[in-house]
Amino acid sequence: MQEATFLILTALADGSQHGYGIINEVSDISQGRVRLRAGTLYTALDRLKADRLIDMDREEIVDNRLRRYYRITPEGGQRLAAEAARLQANARAALQRLNPALGVI
């Protein structure tokens, strides 16, 4: 799973979000490291919809602008959980090996 995909699913994990909301959440989650651009975001959303990992939730009009909210599907939740577990296992292994050998941590 690509990092942008992982971060978008994470942004949607605890509730639905609209496009601009996802960009802000992803920026927060990645501590400002990942600023999604609109083209990248909508390509990723299109993908995730096709893979049935997300779904459209509802639409709102705010200041004459359309806000479309997306939510994660149960399948998306499973995929995200599996990916998070994989990353966690890798990170734990890396930290364990670094710790005694180099005194990094």
Binding site: R37, Y42, T43, D46, R65
Partner: protein, 244 residues
């Protein structure tokens, strides 16, 4: 900003309004690059996101925004954003197949001279040592024309194969069920002819390079077809079959 007079302020507000309208028009022009199906569903939404992420004083799309939108539009037009991962990888493999064929074609064209020289040398060895000059010339002319025909056929076949790969990649990316059937038939045909060529010891496979290319292309084709008929690919083709 030192001018706090009401007139100055109203000027700056209308200034900002016009620059934002100008920016919105520019974004809308860029979004026109996206496929119609995407625009129908998502134009207002993506415009709202673009305007929300724009700087307050921005008048035109930044270079990075233009590149990002054009890349997104290209991926969607190739059908690569909305197809499942299996189909996406299959389509990428097909473009790779086209690339291998292009390399084969270029290699063939570059080695025309050495092929001619080699066949000429082989033909001269085959001519009886006491043959007259006229007979030798006749044999060489015959060999040369045969080689030309073989090379021409090879160039045509390879060009058709390149076109075939590209069309199949494009149409499968779009989810055409017919394209999937086409890919399966093309792959079966190619595999059969390659294996037949191998078992018959076809002279076309005598040099190692075309043999390696054929096997590579065959492997790419089989891998692509396996991905196309994978369980995850079916809903994509099914949805396009009912849509058309």
């Amino acid at each position: 900003m030192t001018d706090w007079s009401p007139i100055g302020e109203s000027f700056s507000i209308s200034d900002r309004a016009s620059s934002s309208a100008q920016l919105e028009r520019a974004y809308r022009r860029l979004v026109l690059c996206y496929p119609r199906s995407f625009r129908r569903e998502n134009t207002e939404e993506i415009i709202a996101v673009l305007l929300a992420t724009a700087r307050a004083d921005q008048r035109r799309p930044s270079l990075a925004e233009v590149a990002d939108l054009l890349r997104g539009a290209a991926r969607m037009r190739l059908g690569l954003s909305s197809c499942p991962r299996t189909v996406l990888h299959a389509v990428r493999l097909m473009y790779l197949g086209a690339l291998v064929e292009v390399v084969t074609l270029v290699t063939l064209l570059l080695s025309v001279g050495s092929i001619r020289a080699a066949t000429r040398a082989a033909a001269l060895r085959g001519v009886a040592p006491h043959a007259t000059h006229a007979v030798t010339q006749q044999v060489l002319a015959k060999v040369a024309s045969t080689v030309s025909v073989v090379i021409l056929v090879d160039v045509v076949v390879t060009s058709v194969a390149i076109a075939g790969w590209l069309v199949l990649a494009w149409a499968n990316g779009k989810g055409s069920p017919l394209a999937r059937v086409g890919a399966i038939i093309a792959c079966a045909f190619y595999t059969a002819t390659t294996i037949q060529g191998l078992t018959l010891g076809d002279e076309a496979y005598a040099p190692a390079a075309p043999l390696a290319a054929s096997i590579t292309v065959m492997a790419i084709g089989i891998a692509a077809v396996v991905l196309l008929v994978a369980k995850q690919s079916w809903p994509y083709y099914a949805s396009h079959a009912t849509a058309t």
